[in-house]
Symmetry: C3
Subunit: 398 residues, 3 copies
């Protein structure tokens, strides 16, 4: 693994100018340099922490979180990232708050930001809503800072929107890179983003889209596979196509799961709801037609049940490169016979890859911390070097 000096050298070689004072939304709005810098800063922060060196860059300040969907992993990852940088987490629990009907996003965003250095938002439930909400928050705090209301501008970290899940996909990418020994080895590796059966309904598209939107950036051969009718957003498929062309990799789509798995180096296998259905649900939701939503749910569950054979079984894993592809999942998974009668993955497959899956998850706090870090420093490499030099212990050591 790269040592600290090497990491700093790499970080210094990337152009991160536009990340300073900026937000982290979809990975497709970031340059390759910016994405690589994020991964390397994450690694450098982890390196410091492993050596018991404090990574606090704030003496005080708030990290505000807004979760419009349940969350354990991302919530703890955001809290961990804030904590390791010195920010206290203040959650905006919309149920306990006094946000009046019709109150503008700008008002709420400003009211919670007087001492906020970062805002993390998860809003992934409705097509066209999460991304739009986050951008409105960004515009709001920008405007409020320009108007002299906010002394500092909190930078936003997208903790999952309706199109992308950047902290997840970058943590996943960091995991792959560590498993295969370097970014340079991504070229030509085959990764499969596969749909899988789940007895539950309405899982966000954003993980699948995040994976095909990101992994096509670095020369990987990306295959998207799912049953007919489970299409993701067409613009994300187009984007993946263009990414692949540019990076020298490839992007393929197939309805044949077996074809997809054959000779794969990495298998990412999870359930999602069809884009068209999610779009329809969003419409019904804004019309307040909850009966129709219930009907839609029934239909989708029925449709799902026709594809119970879409699972990451031992047989399917056999088809991958030497039968040993890296199996990945954002967790929690629907494990057949464990968390579901029939689910996304065989228990024996899941068990074999348990440690890798947990390691995969371990990158997320550092990736979020890196996103924040890069929004705060013009010279992130220098700042990291200064932290090492300061050499403050994270925990008092005998």
């Amino acid at each position: 693994m790269a040592n600290f000096e090497n990491l700093l050298e790499e970080i210094n070689s990337y152009n991160t100018t536009d990340m300073f004072g900026n937000d982290f939304m979809q990975t497709w709005h970031k340059t390759e340099d910016e994405l690589k810098a994020t991964l390397k800063v994450a690694d450098a922060l982890r390196n410091l922490r492993e050596r018991n060196i404090s990574t606090k860059i704030f003496d005080s300040g708030l990290g505000v979180s807004i979760f419009r969907d349940n969350s354990t992993r991302t919530r703890f990852s955001f809290a961990s990232a804030c904590n390791m940088l010195g920010l206290a987490v203040q959650d905006l629990d919309e149920k306990k708050s006094q946000i009046s009907h019709g109150e503008t996003v700008r008002e709420t965003a400003t009211m919670i930001s007087f001492m906020a250095d970062v805002i993390g938002i998860r809003d992934d439930m409705y097509i066209g809503k999460g991304d739009a909400y986050m951008r409105e928050v960004i515009e709001s705090v920008k405007e409020s800072q320009e108007d002299g209301i906010l002394e500092q501008r909190p930078n936003l970290v997208d903790l999952q929107d309706d199109t992308d899940h950047p902290t997840q996909a970058l943590a996943d990418l960091d995991h792959i890179i560590h498993e295969i020994g370097g970014i340079e080895n991504l070229k030509g590796k085959k990764i499969v983003m596969s749909w899988a059966y789940s007895p539950s309904y309405g899982k966000p598209l954003s993980v699948a889209q995040a994976i095909i939107g990101l992994m096509t950036r670095f020369g990987m051969d990306v295959t998207l596979t799912h049953p007919e009718g489970y299409e993701v957003m067409p613009e994300i498929e187009e984007l993946a196509q263009k990414n692949a062309e540019k990076s020298g990799g490839s992007f393929k789509k197939t309805y044949d799961m077996k074809e997809a798995f054959t000779d794969a180096d990495v298998i990412y296998c999870k359930s999602w709801a069809p884009f068209k259905a999610m779009e329809k649900r969003t419409e019904l939701y804004s019309e307040g037609d909850f009966d129709a939503i219930d009907e839609l749910e029934e239909e989708l569950l029925k449709q799902n049940r026709q594809h119970k054979d879409w699972a990451c079984t031992e047989e399917m894993m056999e088809l991958t490169k030497d039968g040993k592809a890296l199996y990945m999942h954002p967790l929690p998974a629907d494990i057949t016979g464990v968390s579901a009668d029939e689910g996304e993955v065989d228990a024996s497959v899941f068990d074999r890859y348990r440690n890798e899956l947990y390691k995969e998850a371990s990158y997320k706090p550092y990736v979020i911390a890196a996103m924040i870090f890069l929004s705060k420093f013009q010279l992130p490499g220098q700042a990291l070097k200064d932290l090492e030099k300061r050499g403050k212990q994270r925990h008092y050591d005998e």
Copy 2:
């Protein structure tokens, strides 16, 4: 704007002896010196923060919050104030707690205070209850410290009671002072505290009372206006009258909104429920007569609807000094056509003053921090000077 040295000079000129080790309840229990010191310490803390100088006076310690009513602004303001002074916020969520029926206030107050340096409470729903509860908490922790149970006495900050909303009114006053260029310019300025129509019911009286109770202290000409039957507590009107006499200002009451607005420098326009009705609701509540409460609510909503013309319209604003009075509101406002069909204020008025309204709100975290600060130092000016000298960065700067 006053520089840091000038602020310290002013702070040193005030007698704040009684604030040390003490609580911040209603403004009318504070001297002019104490109120001015609070504003100037707030400004000084903001000055330090703007210069990236840490204002942490605690290495560890808890700021305990108890919210008996929903809150976004005050919750975040309290969290921000605690954070900038170095305290971690621990919320007493009465729903998750194991406070047994009949448990004394002294017991709960003591149990949450072993490591608490400050307690912030919002309890504004029932007449005669909020203030009483807070005073019982104060007595409790005082007693527990005297009895050797608590090593330190947490000081209480009143985050809104049934009679006053001191952190709001002082943030408002700080805003006015900054807009008009100094405390000395308050004399002779006309401020209107006006009732306004809102489709909702039971808004606390405490903001209106806070404004007339505080603004009469500094020589302003204060006019209270509302429809007949929307009287505030008579003792607060008397208090405002006495304040005005003492400060060389004036306090007037009128049922004629137009008369009130004419030539005003500042318009504070918001809804509240009549004191008599709130008193009745409190009685019904203690009798557990929820049907009667529902009836009362219906009556009040009906009564409100007769006064839809009480709104801060463009026409009304035209009447003010040069048509340009400073419009104020504690937020969130019921904005006509935005957050309500008919509400407290025209959308165009609100929009024009949006930035000022947000700036108004920005003072609250600093005012709360100043209240805490003054309860902790005998020589607050010296302590602020020491913080500047210490010169610790709030956020690590390249």
Copy 3:
């Protein structure tokens, strides 16, 4: 009271090797040295805090709490302990989280632990469950650290399980020791753990068991008394018996409350539900038979009502040594005429001992902090000495 140097000397004299990197579950799995060290480290941390010396040993890091039962006292004690050591508290609210049905304990435990230095758990509701759950969490994070997933292993603090309440019992013991002037004076003192009537149902057994399991370790004469049918777990009684034999104290059981109270030095009097009934409830719960649970509740309440005479009355207190035994309770108590029509204790008894009861509670934050402290240092005495030498102020002092 012992001064700091004496405390360090005592701490250095105990063998705490096995506490380093370890967890704090039931007191009966700790040696006498380890228990004494916990009390003395608690006292030393309190001593430092009283002298305004910072006890922060973490620059950043999380203290994760999981409360599967309501809590005020223990919640605030855990938050206080974490705060004084420098950890931010992150609560795993199982309602807001995305823990999927069937998700393994190892998965959740790992996901919340990437930056956790300590995990505190309260899980006391079902026989055989709380302890088992905690041990699974311990095994999980141990395994995840060994597998290279976690960089540090969070140590677990048992904040009450179905068998023991170690933080409560040790805080209680620290209180007794301070009241009687030293550990060495425990020998021969009579402490009574008495059942008492309460109108509520299903209070955990763990406090009663914690008391007889711990107080028998130091030569005290421990008497357990309750109505027939209110037996605690037989293995805890056996354990108490063995402890007493080993420590030179005694353990007696009687159904005669008066006999128990006679000549007692310490009275610990609180309600609990019979072990057999709790066991049955657990079974019914796992069968999902909620009607039978309701029936059981009715039965138990009826049975309770036959023992309203089991209360800590003035008459009963008269029987104790000089009528002046130390009255103890973990709080909140069911006080006759205050928090219950008929309850565990007379109001006048409770009032007379109020200050002592609150002092008793004040030891808990320090006991928890000591448990964490001892899990983090091989040479706790040296670490405490270093903190004193560092001499950082807890709050900035003029």
